[in-house]
């Protein structure tokens, strides 16, 4: 987090918003929280996330337009072009790639505010909920001079994420899973089951916002629980040296040298409590056969077990001895596991 706060774009954003202090990221998030508090002080009846979205959008002069079909998109373009904003004519081209989820456009007549176009065509609807809150988060931090200096189009995949997009995702997470509305449901779930489980995340999602994706709800839950949790994804993969061998072509010359992929950690995510307790598994680390993660990978049947992280080793070095509860289940590819300490 501290690295993000030293990015030039984040410093420029903080300056434009008149945010200062040792942690600019925390300061910017606090700035946005203050904006929402002021909005809510004028609206007493906000009891669910839909209400929150409505009052925030109204206060920001943001109109959300969801597009579920090509016909709807054509109509939307015609509507705004005829209302004096030809820039909307770019939308069919802009939203054509399956990777473009939403666009935020400021009306040329500033009195008319903003329009967030959320593309829900095809599989894009799966990300609709968070995309909407991401666009709202952009409006929170939009400041004229800052925009002009930093006009950007950014991405959320593979290459290092753009710093503005990263902080916008953090702000979006603060409000898409707004604590006063989300935490009571999460606390109820933890009280009922004693710990966070995949099924519990699903129950919280159902009660809070069915439009939210499982993954974004999972992150919101993990981030908010006090217990150290490490979320892990594992799949067949090569370690770096093996990949280098494969790409060099040497494996082709000596067939016996061609490595086989093994079950490895491909992605991880942990909460602050896990960070403080040193609960961590490096990416690319091989999953031990004794772990329930390996068993679930082979059987496809969800399972739980209590394990010791010192069973995980790489090049003769073991992870610290920590007794953990591991819940594993098959994911889209490979296995997802929630590793809880204590």
């Amino acid at each position: 987090m501290s690295d993000l706060g030293t990015e030039p774009k984040i410093i420029a954003m903080a300056n434009a918003l008149r945010v200062s202090g040792p942690d600019l990221v925390a300061g910017i998030r606090k700035f946005c929280q203050g904006k929402v508090r002021r909005i809510l002080s004028r609206h007493s009846r906000v009891s669910n996330i839909g209400d929150l979205q409505a009052v925030v959008c109204e206060a920001l002069s943001l109109r959300v337009r969801e597009v579920w079909s090509d016909e709807q998109l054509t109509q939307l373009v015609q509507e705004y072009v005829s209302d004096g904003d030809p820039v909307f004519a770019i939308l069919p081209t802009d939203l054509a790639p399956s990777t473009t989820l939403g666009v935020l456009i400021r009306r040329s007549d500033k009195e008319k505010g903003w329009v967030a176009i959320v593309d829900c065509r095809g599989n894009k609807h799966l990300r609709r909920f968070f995309t909407l809150w991401h666009e709202i988060a952009h409006c929170f931090t939009a400041v004229e001079q800052y925009e002009l200096a930093l006009f950007h189009r950014a991405a959320i995949h593979d290459r290092a994420k753009d710093s503005v997009e990263t902080i916008t995702d953090l702000i979006a997470g603060d409000f898409a899973f707004f604590d006063p509305l989300f935490n009571p449901l999460l606390e109820e779930e933890i009280a009922r089951k004693g710990r966070l489980t995949f099924a519990g995340v699903e129950r919280v999602r159902n009660d809070f916002a069915r439009d939210a994706s499982f993954q974004s709800t999972l992150y919101a839950c993990v981030n908010r629980v006090a217990t150290p949790i490490l979320y892990v994804e594992a799949d067949l993969a090569y370690k770096k040296a093996e990949l280098a061998l494969l790409t060099s072509g040497q494996g082709e010359l000596i067939p016996s040298a061609r490595p086989a992929p093994t079950l490895r950690v491909t992605d991880t995510f942990r909460n602050e409590a896990a960070r403080l307790r040193g609960l961590h598994i490096p990416k690319k680390m091989s999953v031990p056969e004794s772990s329930v993660i390996s068993r679930v990978f082979l059987s496809g049947i969800p399972a739980d077990s209590v394990e010791d992280l010192s069973d995980w080793s790489s090049q003769g070095r073991c992870l610290p001895a920590l007794r953990v509860q591991v819940e594993a289940r098959s994911g889209f590819s490979g296995v997802s596991a929630m590793i809880t300490l204590g």
């Binding site: 004519a89 770019i90 790639p97 473009t100 939403g102 456009i105 400021r106 006009f151 991405a155």
Partner: protein
């Protein structure tokens, strides 16, 4: 913020005009223009400003506000397409209305596709 003289110089450079050509377009003398661009003259009357704005095809305010920075890639594209300066500015202004994209495959350092953008909005530029 750019001075008025710097703005005039930038706009003239963007169009590839000599002082003579700007004089022909605006009727403001070359000596006056040269002094203005070199910071030897700071005060300009409103009628002169108006003539310069007309010659460049930009609003008077844009001269006073420090001018408009046309990104080099747009400048190159505009030259290739033989766009007028007013059209180029309109294109730039429209592009700046797009505040953000949420995209899983485009990257911050990807160049802006001016051709694609122009093709989509060109019928509205005139």
């Amino acid at each position: 913020m750019q001075s008025l003289g710097q703005t005039i110089k930038t706009l003239r450079g963007a169009r590839g005009w000599t002082l003579e050509e700007l004089y022909q377009a605006s009727g403001v003398s070359k000596g006056f223009l040269s002094d203005l661009e070199n910071g030897k003259r700071l005060n300009v009357g409103s009628s002169t400003l108006l003539r310069l704005a007309d010659a460049f095809g930009v609003p008077v305010e844009s001269l006073m506000e420090g001018g408009v920075q046309v990104p080099p890639d747009l400048e190159k594209f505009a030259l290739e397409q033989k766009l007028s300066f007013a059209e180029t500015l309109t294109l730039l202004k429209m592009s700046r209305q797009i505040h953000a994209h949420r995209d899983r495959a485009r990257f911050d350092d990807d160049p802006f596709d001016w051709k694609q953008f122009y093709e989509a909005v060109k019928s509205f530029l005139k």
